[in-house]
């Protein structure tokens, strides 16, 4: 294999691709530590002032607090819904299954701006718009599809006989779900939760429309972003990316083995 030009070309391409993927992030992080008020060259020296500014003003931190309420809650409910649905999709055959699955995927395909207006209109009619609860409700819709996909992937790796064995040994259906299916799906559930959490954590257009007096973090970022030119945004971007990196470590440990089918489950 050594010296094979294709391998060399592949690695070269991969290097270029990484450079492309990380270039904006490098710029983001770089200018969060630069004195320049506008990201641009030449560089004007290092500073922590934007971080200081970020943390001296409670607004973004409050927003982070709101996000830390909405996103875990939405991720938890979405994962729970997704688990039950994934179980049913995996086990039962029924008419309209494909249509149902397509329906689940649709929310991620509809442009969020359009969806945001629709959500606002409907939630208003049930007097729910403008609350964190509204953000929670709509985020669950958006993040259930990825969660479902991950859990389905995990459940598809479960031998059918595992459940049958539990029934055969006298377990009721519910006992089987609790004692066999759930433990088996746990890595998938964990991965799905992380993915759902990060989606909700990042989402802003829908949240912009339906959130009220308690903006989530991306909404707060956006309201500063559109109006002003403030490198604190780079600072918060860096922090958000840092948090995401932690999540990614979680992914590395849980989600990827699952996606790549290298799980340790029995044959």
């Amino acid at each position: 294999m050594r010296g094979n030009p294709w391998i060399f070309a592949g690695r070269l391409w991969l290097g270029l691709a990484y450079a492309f993927m990380f270039l904006p992030l490098v710029v983001l992080v770089l200018f969060s530590f630069q004195k320049n008020r506008f990201p641009g060259f030449p560089l004007q020296g290092w500073t922590l002032q934007w971080y200081d500014k970020l943390f001296s003003d409670g607004t973004l931190l409050n927003a982070l607090g709101n996000t830390m309420i909405v996103s875990p809650a939405a991720a938890t409910i979405a994962t729970a819904i997704a688990f039950f649905a994934a179980y049913a999709f995996n086990r039962f055959a029924f008419r309209g299954k494909t249509a149902f699955l397509a329906l689940v995927t649709l929310p991620i395909l509809i442009p969020p701006l359009i969806l945001g207006v629709g959500f606002l209109g409907l939630l208003a009619r049930i007097h729910l718009s403008g609350t964190l609860f509204a953000v929670f409700l709509t985020h669950v819709v958006l993040i259930t599809a990825p969660a479902l996909a991950i859990i389905q992937l995990r459940l598809s790796q479960m031998p059918v006989s595992l459940e049958e064995a539990a029934w055969d040994l006298g377990a009721t259906e519910w006992q089987t779900v609790k004692k066999v299916v759930l433990p088996f799906a746990l890595p998938g559930i964990f991965g799905a939760w992380l993915l759902a959490f990060t989606f909700s954590f990042d989402e802003f257009i829908i949240a912009w429309f339906v959130s009220g007096f308690q903006p989530t973090l991306p909404v707060a970022i956006y309201s500063v972003l559109v109006a002003a030119i403030d490198p604190s945004l780079n600072a918060i971007g860096t922090i958000v990316f840092g948090i995401s990196c932690l999540v990614l470590i979680g992914l590395e440990l849980v989600l990827l083995p699952l996606l790549l089918g290298k799980s340790e489950n029995q044959s």
Partner: protein, 391 residues
């Protein structure tokens, strides 16, 4: 629905003294602890002390601006930020009546709010600070109430859609004339704010200098506006959906000028001195925000107090200098709260060309308030803008 406003408040007030790490930790822990609290108490009625709720453009919610009011009235003011009049109308239309107590609206949107009966007129007597307002902001042209002495909204903040330009690429003299934008030199080097209203207003003035009512024009005049825009099209390098991308483009040298107003303020503040702004001699459009009181508010007295608060020169001096926006205040006494640099930056300094007047007064005189198309349907103007964009 903040049932526990104490938590974020406590966090933010202490924030300067405690470490970042601690802060993050406590915010996260607090958030976790209040998760259920926040979700179970959903209805507004369940809360004891009603805070004041305001729907506004960014800036009004900043602590410097509102803290004094909150302390004075021992209350909490909650803000829902919108960007663009349409969002404001949607947010208003799509929430239960009584959700908002007060609104900061663009002056011309007062018509739309009136049509929806969402705001009500109030008396101007008792607003002592109005005496210090620039005369142009005392006539309340777009916001006048039906009976004498009443208004639907009092101006709080304004600024201009003049030309911001790079002084290395454009002279002050050129920036003083709309027609310079048609110079071949600037082909592809003009940035434009992606909204038909200010741009068609400016074009209306460009073809009909000094028109006091640039939005009430005949179909023939509108045709000329369209022709002017057609000529302008090859000059446009980009459309910006907000100030930020336009300022960034100016700084990066992607564009040399933009009829977006006073981007130079932020650029100068950032240490880039090769930017300036002016209003061309033909005239330019001015935007202004006004404070309105909602008809369904259960907290009207406090809302009135807030409107009064917003007319104070001290508050306006901070409002026009927020992180979100740099703008100007209608209360001319705001200069008392500024140092020389700030005065210069916001052009509250004597105008050499107009003895006895401040530069900002000259600009106010030369500018016309943004309005809605008076003689044609909105869509006709939007179509012209869309046609211009897609030309």
């Amino acid at each position: 629905m903040t049932n526990k406003p104490q938590l974020p408040k406590a966090t933010s007030s202490k924030s300067s003294s405690i470490s970042r790490r601690m802060l993050l930790g406590s915010a996260a822990a607090g958030a976790a602890a209040t998760t259920f609290g926040n979700f179970t108490i959903l209805s507004r009625q369940a809360q004891a002390a009603e805070p004041l709720r305001v729907l506004c453009w960014p800036g009004y919610e900043e602590k410097d601006v509102i803290a004094e009011f909150e302390d004075l009235h021992k209350t909490k003011v909650e803000f829902k930020i919108y960007i663009g009049g349409e969002q404001m109308l949607q947010f208003f239309a799509q929430t239960a009546p009584g959700t908002f107590d007060a609104i900061i609206s663009d002056a011309e949107y007062v018509q739309k709010l009136k049509a929806n009966k969402t705001i009500e007129a109030y008396k101007t007597d008792g607003f002592a600070e109005l005496a210090n307002y620039h005369p142009k902001f005392r006539d309340f042209a777009p916001t006048k109430g039906e009976t004498a002495g009443t208004v639907y909204g009092i101006p709080t903040r304004f600024s201009f859609y003049g030309i911001s330009y790079n002084t290395d690429e454009m002279s002050a003299e050129q920036a003083g004339d709309w027609n310079s934008l048609l110079d071949k030199k600037y082909a592809g080097k003009i940035g434009m704010f992606d909204w038909y209203l200010p741009n068609l207003g400016n074009a209306s003035l460009a073809v009909d200098p000094g028109n006091q009512t640039p939005y009430a024009i005949t179909d023939d005049q509108l045709k000329k506006v369209k022709e002017f825009l057609t000529k302008l099209r090859p000059q446009i390098g980009m459309f910006g959906s907000s100030n930020q991308p336009i300022a960034q483009a100016m700084l990066a040298g992607d564009i040399f000028a933009s009829p977006t107003g006073d981007l130079d303020i932020d650029l100068k503040l950032a240490g880039y001195d090769n930017f300036s702004s002016t209003i061309p001699k033909q005239g330019g459009i001015r935007w202004q925000e006004v404070a309105c009181v909602c008809s369904a508010s259960k907290n009207k007295d406090l809302a009135m107090e807030w409107v009064k608060y917003m007319t104070s020169p001290k508050v306006q001096s901070k409002l026009v200098y927020t992180k979100a926006f740099k703008a100007r205040g209608p209360n001319m006494k705001i200069v008392d709260y500024w140092d020389a640099d700030q005065k210069k930056l916001l052009s509250y300094v004597p105008d050499p060309a107009n003895p006895g007047k401040m530069l900002v007064e000259t600009l106010i005189d030369r500018s016309m308030p943004r309005g809605l198309p008076a003689n044609q349907p909105e869509q006709a103007w939007i179509d012209i803008f869309n046609e211009f964009k897609t030309a």
